[in-house]
Amino acid sequence: MAAFALVALSPIDPLQANIGQVALGSMSAEQVARLQAYWGVGQPLIGRYLNWLSGFLRGDLGVSLLYRQEVSQVIAEKCANSVWLMGFAWCVSGVLGIALGVTAGVRRGRFSDRLIRGGCLLVSSTPAFWIALMALIVFAVWLGWFPIGLSIPIGMDAARVSLADRLHHAALPALVLSITGIPNVALHTREKMVEVLESDYVLFARARGERTTQIVLRHGLRNILLPAITLQFGAIGEIFGGSTLIEQVFSYPGLGQAAVAAGLGSDLPLLMGIAVISAVIVFGGNLAADLLYGVVDPRVRKGGAHR
């Protein structure tokens, strides 16, 4: 609903934005009026919202004004592209972030810890689009290892695009998206690891003769996993937000780019569709974290029966 109001109130004139000043000037008044009706200019906000809502409740997301396709179809197509990207980035940033965080926590104060912490701070204080541009310049332009943009080779028939092609195109944006996601997980995991290693139960484990590797594997990971899982599922929203920027830089036709296009082009039905989908994804992430918590944490799993 907030999304709806924001778009409706935005100063962008949908006609100017989508058709262009010049074309608009050369049209007849009748044509302009028809276009205005198409883009919903001048219609009351509440009416448009109720209209959209009643469609949505019947499972109809409406028709995208920009793409002139069913919104659900546009989203499905864009989603398929984005899922590669975000899924990969989510896994890689999660695994690498936890691994780096654990390493830094265990090697606290040593060189590797300082290196990892420094790197994380550097990455998290650098704008994502700048990292994306640098990656483009180095790997795509100078080294030529990866294509500069899009999700499939230019001019190729969609049916003939191979999985390898798709992966090749998704690799660089996914990598950049992963890197921007690492610092958050890594730094949090490091803090937690330090806390665990200073805990009473690790002291007692040492007193029972357990070695550092054993302690990290047996007690460290076990106690770090829960907060890490919560954090990483919560990070889905962040990855989603990050992908908007990254997809833009890499002209990767995913959900994020569609969201930007819909926003700038006043394509209300599409924007609302994307807002709903992202809310569902983020909510799903948090739900999954909660469910996993119940499975992993014995206090939650067995606690119900006891309290």
Binding site: E198, Y201, F204, A205, A207, R208, G209, R218, P298
Partner: protein, 326 residues
């Protein structure tokens, strides 16, 4: 009593923390200083002191498990040999064990059995875990329980079982009784007597002098990171055989001896380190107490005090009524 060579000898042990005080000034917080202690076979020596006096740190220091920001001086000998880092790594959990202070010393996310096995999968290890739990009246079902499912008394017994499953030579028990009802506490202390009678030395750390006197052989009185007196349990039969004014104050604070608490509080680590640390609360304080007090051996114990063994004036000074005819 014929005493064998000590299992553990602590010599000149000091533990300090580097802390950032006001501004950028670094401050060395001396929490345990110049501590000497010996534990022999078949003996329970109780270290008795108020909370916050550094008892847990003493236990952790002997095990070489001090926190990251701590600094340690002095050292220990175990069965006559210096106890260095490498040797500690070999002996921890086998010959030298800790019975920790509370449930927080058990991993909240790991069931009891797995914690006691310590990652060993061998049937022999499992058998030892089962036997040591059974010894303390804990059934097989306890192995599958998580710490949050244990009652206070069960958790204590689990921690004792975890410590003694490898028949140790030295047991360091850090406050094993608080939170238990007197009955359960007595039973737990009985377990330590048993362990000692089987040949181990036990260092029993507690703030409860009364409890300590029921099981220990000797008592070391710990005050602000320092041992002020070492006495045999028999010395606590009456006030006169005690040597240090602080020990006597503790004695008078016991319910059966008048229940007179000592006024004032222990100095906090790092403040007023000159001279006798007890001087500020001492009824026998004199001018020389601003200097480092000497160790005076009296009978089969000793005290770190200029006035060790002096009596009479102390009683009148403290309460005005507690005259003890000799």
């Amino acid at each position: 009593m014929q005493r064998s060579d000590p299992i553990l000898e602590v010599k000149g042990l000091s533990v300090s923390f580097l802390q950032y005080g006001r501004g950028m000034r670094q401050q060395l917080l001396n929490v345990v200083h110049g501590l000497d202690l010996a534990v022999s076979e078949r003996e329970i020596i109780a270290v008795v002191g108020a909370s916050g006096s550094g008892k847990s740190l003493l236990a952790h220091a002997i095990l070489g498990l001090l926190p990251y920001n701590a600094h340690m001086e002095g050292g220990c000998r175990f069965r006559g040999e210096p106890l260095d880092e490498a040797r500690l790594r070999r002996l921890r959990g086998k010959e030298i064990v800790l019975v920790p202070q509370g449930v927080s010393y058990l991993d909240p996310l790991m069931c009891v059995g797995a914690q006691l096995n310590g990652g060993e999968k061998a049937p022999d290890s499992r058998r030892r875990t089962r036997e040591s739990l059974a010894r303390y009246g804990l059934g097989e079902e306890v192995e599958r329980m998580y710490p949050f499912e244990l009652s206070g008394g069960m958790a204590r017994r689990v921690m004792i079982a975890a410590a003694v499953r490898n028949t140790p030579k030295l047991v360091i028990a850090d406050e094993p009784t608080p939170g238990l009802n007197p009955e359960a506490a007595r039973r737990i202390l009985g377990h330590f007597r048993e362990i000692a009678d089987e040949g181990a030395g036990v260092l029993l750390i507690t703030h409860d002098l009364e409890m300590a006197l029921t099981v220990a052989d000797r008592v070391a009185v710990f005050y602000a990171g320092r041992i002020l007196e070492e006495a045999s349990v028999a010395d606590f039969m009456q006030e006169e055989t005690l040597r240090h004014p602080y020990t006597r104050a503790l004695w008078r604070a016991m319910p059966q001896n008048g229940f007179q608490p000592l006024a004032g509080a222990q100095p906090y680590a790092g403040e007023g380190q000159e001279g006798c640390l007890f001087a500020s609360r001492c009824p026998l304080r004199s001018a020389e107490c601003t200097k480092e007090p000497p160790v005076r051996e009296i009978g089969n114990g000793w005290a770190r005090c200029f006035h060790a063994g002096e009596r009479g004036k102390a009683d009148g000074f403290d309460s005005g009524t507690n005259f003890v005819p000799v």
